[in-house]
């Protein structure tokens, strides 16, 4: 890693790989949360789907 005030911090290949892995893990976790809320909504209360508009 080199630090140049003109360029900012330049990530090494390994740091980029780890950042990408963290980003994918966060995306998968958020995706799971969305799916979980969707499925639980179907399981717990189908009435929420037939409410008046």
């Amino acid at each position: 890693m080199s630090e140049n005030p003109e360029e900012g911090i330049v990530l090494t290949a390994e740091q980029k790989r780890r950042r990408r892995a963290r980003s994918i893990a966060i995306a998968l976790s958020l995706g799971l949360l969305v799916v979980l809320f969707y499925v639980v909504t179907l399981v717990k209360g189908p009435a929420v789907l037939i409410r008046p508009l």
């Binding site: 005030p5 911090i9 950042r19 499925v39 717990k44």
Partner: protein
């Protein structure tokens, strides 16, 4: 182009943490025991819970337990750095910054309780919140560094999961989950003190007042034996109170007898290579003890529901 920094400021360094480091912060091995005992609490509770809701409850309990672990590692990073057992954890190893672990743990703690409350029920969510609070504030921040009774009282945090699993189904707490709580509560001291007999120097170097450090090895051996003698009948108590059948009672009785026999060996073997060997055997069996008892409780309950109970 980046603007120059003001004098005295340093630029934030890129994180070196990998996904595996964040998983390590969740203490997955501790989490496995929490999830298993919570699963048993959930499955033996009277009533029906939809599998999706049951899965959601277990997920929230697991994440809540992991959050507690991350917050524990954040607070204990200084003592983890001087103990050989914890030296390679992500924070003392320098791969995760303390602030990252704090943010990670706090987010998961709040998130797991909120999701639990919204998707399962708020009583169980409140129990989970209390468990996290107890582990982080009462055990980690207060008891651990101030009293040799740290793991006795703090052990309550590890004993709550089956109660939370039960509450996820019923929305309340009765005698049966209290008995499951007591089994883990009285199992914790002999389990951890067996480990602390082996890692006494580590705890002394870190300044943690574990029982062997404060009261000596012989007093610890005596306390291990006393707690094992109390644990054995409590292990059988679900049968005595009519909550489990004779099959479970027989397994619990046998496991309790082995636990007492191993604790007696720890009490008797005080020098030479036999002493650490006895402590290692007790530590290993104590892990098996809690898994076997809860597995037997589950099997006994399932057989009774199918009409094959003894």
């Amino acid at each position: 182009m980046t603007r120059p920094l003001a004098p005295g400021l340093t630029r934030a360094q890129p994180s070196l943490a990998g996904v595996e480091d964040y998983i390590a912060l969740l203490k997955p091995r501790v989490m496995s025991l929490v999830v298993f005992t919570a699963l048993v609490g959930l499955l033996v509770a009277p009533g029906h819970v939809h599998p999706v809701i049951g899965f959601t409850a277990l997920l929230c309990i697991a994440i809540g337990a992991g959050a507690s672990g991350a917050l524990n590692m954040w607070y204990d990073a200084d003592i983890d750095a001087v103990m050989t057992r914890t030296l390679r954890r992500p924070i003392p190893a320098g791969r995760v910054q303390p602030a990252e672990a704090l943010a990670f743990g706090a987010t998961l703690a709040v998130g797991s309780v909120l999701v639990f409350g919204v998707l399962v029920n708020w009583f169980a969510a409140a129990l989970l919140a209390f468990t996290i609070f107890f582990y982080v504030f009462v055990y980690t921040m207060w008891l651990k560094r101030s009293t040799p009774q740290n793991i006795v009282i703090g052990g309550a945090a590890g004993a709550f999961p089956p109660m939370i699993g039960w509450a996820a189904v019923t929305g309340d707490v009765s005698l049966a989950p209290v008995l499951m709580f007591l089994i883990i509560f009285f199992w914790t001291p002999p389990h951890f003190w067996a480990l602390s007999l082996l890692k006494c120097d580590d705890y002394a170097r870190a300044g943690i007042p574990m029982l062997p450090v404060v009261s000596g090895l012989d007093e610890t051996r005596k306390q291990i034996l006393i707690y094992s003698l109390v644990l054995a009948p409590i292990g059988v108590s679900p049968t005595l109170f009519g909550f489990a059948g004779l099959a479970y009672g027989a397994v619990a009785l046998a496991c309790g007898a082995v636990m007492i026999a191993l604790a007696w060996r720890v009490y008797r073997e005080r020098s030479g290579p036999a002493a650490p060997s006895a402590a290692k055997k007790l530590f290993a069996f104590s892990l098996l003890y809690v898994f076997v008892l809860f597995a037997a409780l589950l099997a006994d309950n399932m057989l009774a529901r199918l009409g094959y109970g003894l």
